[in-house]
Amino acid sequence: MSKKIIVKSKIRDLIAFTKLVSLRRKKIMKASPEKSEEDSFDKVVRTMHPKRMFLKIAEVKDQTESTKTFTLVPDIAKGTKQLATFRPGQYLNIQFVIEDIKISRNYSLSSTPKDASNGLYMVTVRKKEKGFVTSHIFKTWKKGTLVESSGPMGNFVYEPLRDKQNIIAIAGGCGITPIFSLLKDSIEKQDNRFFTILYGVKNSKDIIFKDELSEIAEKFKTKVNLNFVASEPEEQWKGPIGFITAELIEKLSNGIQDKSFFICGPQAMYTFLDKEIEKLSIPHRLVRKELFGEVNDPLDIPGFPLSNVDKIFTVKVHIADEIREVQALGKETVLISLEKAGLAPPSRCRSGECGFCRSKLITGEIFVSNINDGRRIADKKFNWFHPCSSYPLSDLEIRISRAL
């Protein structure tokens, strides 16, 4: 025990101690008995991070033969009063119910934050051959259709503290949508970014935002260097042809020193481009790659066991207090099998990254794509996995959460 401590006086210290409870009661008694209401801080938090957004299609614009741009506005009646702001490059996770199956897909916003503050978002969707969701969109989405989505999300964003102002943007197919947003935002902000765009397309009919991009390139020559690269060009094609190689990148961008790469496209493009980028010896930090939803063909993933493609497995799924058995194809992610079975599991990025679909693997073997294994250390330790980037290699027993 230490020597006796006296703060004010022997007596006053003890009295203060005995009066502590009454002091507390007095403090509480003095406070207002009114319920504290939502303030401006809470409102901004709720607007920026909505649990869900209720939107309505205000306009549909044909972009190419297979691409449309949908303008979305808040559905005030359903409770979305104001759109959440976003960072160019981010996407919405849009929910669908198609043939009784609840499913979600991500669409990069092709509009700008300024548009959002004026009450509108745009998503640009390309119809895929045999595309389950895109066919549904093209069939049913028209002016007035109600749409439900997540708030904006994703990390494919320009970060001024990291990224160079001189940007080499490489896009394939509808991978141009986030880059279009980045470019327009830079023009609206009148900042000092310069964009060298290499947009890989099949032919001129395949170019999304062809007129818009060309117009911008014409008007802002000191800001944009626009290049369409055609892999299956028509006869009249004048621009560069073939794939986007290291050589072509260096040539078109007039040197690669001190520039940041923003790359967005299908997995096949990444598989090719990764090797090309490696040749350029660019530091990791200067290459941003959007994981653009799930990989359509698992054989694009290095190391995927070929023999698994034709296999069919059974997955025993624990969800809330129920157990369901679903069929899973060896060539599809566990997430897709769950969705097809109507289980409506949670999902957001669909690329292994965000962990929103995080689930427990109770028994069984899975193949986890090494290109997008976003699991935390402890998740691996305790057998938690991301169904959106995992394929069954055996029958499985898993526990999933319900979608929010």
Binding site: M1, I5, V7, L20, F41, V97, V147
Partner: protein
């Protein structure tokens, strides 16, 4: 029991909702929130053969005790130093608790408390854990006060021991015994840190400046912070020393969550509670936003009383005026702005020598606690490099650096969403500038990943009012002892009990874990009595 789910949303979900899976059982105890307090309470209950369920709003456990991945980095979301773990030979309350419930996690030992840099005052020195080591460190910076410092730490030790005694005998606290064995504990309870430190000890300003740098750990200035909590923290830090989890806080939370299930507990993620059902002043159950209804007689709320009383209690007419007064009377603690950096350079190459740096422009009395009233960079900043403690925390040739500053509740109130992104980028920019300048290192050309979390991020993730990370302020009238003395009279709704950083034991990981244990023990006793 399950109610038909409500139909929400723009799409007609009727057909698919009908067969949606629900939680169909009732539970002895419903725990709202799987944060540190909720998980610990759950483990304790399940280990006692009681049937608990944890309903967690996110799809992972832990609340702030978590981690997140960007590129090839897994960032620690919250913890800088775990104070009351202790070693195997000298276990602290957290290690004892974890051993008791059978939770194992890998820890890295932190030899130093902090590297203190106060440019304007010309102060620069590393302070170690351990009373002797710390006093030696202070003595090398300001010689001549070793004896007085030992006297100070003896008092802090007495407070810590008394608190341990108090917690072990909360049911029938013998005040005479307390007075006899821990007189200084009793005498200092009604005072602030400065009242006790400056009236009872003869320290020069330079020593106070070093000592008070600790205030950041508790988030309340020494001018208003209650001495009891402060003293206990100091004693604990130097007796039990400090640790960080090797695999981020998510590993601790997962260890607890998985152990909970092993012990027979049930945890349901993605299941926010919408309503705490109350009838005649007592809890009867909960309703979730997934459409579940669960009946129960005991609820453990791992959330703030603010959120429980203002948003969840149903019907709201069951919230007594006093509960609202309690909420309105309390001061919400600090929130923070945290810049997470994944750098493509090792910490050695970067030139970082210590795990944690406390940087303050000045600790001089008149400027020590001047806080910004707008979102500007405050004068005090913490720089923490995880790899110094856990070299393998990120891939070879990289390191993780975290810069944090704190804000009083309300400072971010008038930020508009249109200016939010550029505001946080601008603040991070200035913080990086400051770190580079003060530490003499070059960060900017190595940034591979960057994430900037603000009070708004905290508010969104954990749902705490004003994005508070340290619960309510532990000022004299709202510190541990008065909270504990009033715990029964402040249980305004029967069997609705609080754990976690907003509860009776104050903020921080250790307190949250311990609060869960204490509340669970109380419920076990009550339920056993009935049998």
């Amino acid at each position: 029991m399950a109610r038909p789910p409500t139909i929400k949303g723009g799409i007609d979900l009727k057909t698919t909702k009908k067969n949606e899976p629900h939680l169909r059982s009732d539970y002895d105890v419903v725990i709202i929130g799987g944060g540190n307090g909720g998980l610990t309470a759950g483990c304790k209950l399940a280990a006692s053969g009681i049937k608990p369920i944890i309903l967690e709003k996110n799809n992972l456990p832990g609340g702030y005790a978590s981690s997140f991945i960007r590129g090839r980095f897994e960032f620690e979301a919250a913890l800088h130093a775990m104070a009351d773990l202790g070693s195997i030979e000298n276990p602290g309350s957290v290690r004892k608790l974890f051993d008791e419930i059978g939770v194992k996690t890998d820890w890295a030992f932190l030899p130093d408390v902090y590297h203190l840099i106060i440019p304007e005052d010309g102060m620069d020195g590393v302070l170690s854990t351990g009373v002797d080591e710390y006093i030696e460190g202070v003595n090398s910076l300001v010689p001549g006060y070793k004896e007085e410092l030992y006297r100070y730490f003896a008092l802090c030790n007495e407070v810590m021991e008394a608190l341990n005694y108090t917690e072990a005998h909360m049911d029938n606290l013998n005040k005479i015994y307390l007075l006899k064995h821990f007189p200084n504990f009793v005498r200092t309870i009604p005072y602030t840190v400065e009242e006790v430190t400056e009236k009872c000890f003869k320290f020069p300003e330079e020593i106070l400046n070093i000592l008070y740098a600790y205030w950041g750990y508790l988030g309340v200035p020494t001018t208003t912070l209650n001495f009891t909590l402060w003293a206990a923290m100091l004693a604990m830090f130097h007796d039990k020393k400090a640790y960080v989890p090797k695999n981020r806080s998510h590993d601790i939370s997962m260890s607890l969550a998985e152990r909970f299930i092993e012990l027979g507990g049930r945890i349901e993620y993605n299941t926010p509670v919408d309503k705490i059902l109350v009838s005649n002043g007592a809890v009867t159950g909960v309703e979730t936003s997934q459409g579940d209804t669960i009946m129960t007689k005991h609820i453990i709320a791992n959330l703030s009383p603010h959120a429980a009383y203002n948003k969840l209690v149903y019907p709201q007419s069951e919230v007594p005026e006093k509960a609202r007064q309690l909420c309105n009377s309390r001061e919400v603690g600090i929130s923070l702005l945290s810049v997470f950096l994944g750098l493509d350079v090792s910490y050695e190459e970067l030139g970082i020598t210590d795990y944690e740096f406390f940087i303050a422009d000045t600790m001089k009395r008149d400027k020590r606690y001047i806080f910004p009233t707008k979102p500007e960079v405050p004068q005090r900043m913490i720089v923490c490099c995880l790899n110094v403690a856990v070299p393998e925390a990120s891939p070879p040739g990289t390191c993780i650096l975290n810069l944090s500053v704190t804000y009083e509740a309300g400072v971010w109130d008038n930020v508009k969403q249109e200016e939010y992104v550029s505001l946080k980028q601008d603040l991070a920019d200035k913080m990086i500038d400051k770190a580079e300048k003060v530490l003499g290192i070059s960060i900017r050309n190595h940034i591979e990943e960057i994430e900037i979390a603000t009070p708004m991020t905290m508010a969104y993730y954990a749902g705490h009012t004003k994005g508070a990370v340290y619960g309510y302020k532990t000022t004299v009238w709202d510190s541990l002892i008065p909270r504990n003395l009033c715990i029964e009279e402040e249980q305004y709704i029967h069997n609705l009990e609080f754990v976690g950083g907003f509860s009776f034991r104050g903020m921080g990981y250790c307190s949250s874990y311990v609060s869960g244990g204490i509340v669970a023990d109380g419920i076990v006793k009550k339920l056993r009595k009935k049998v």
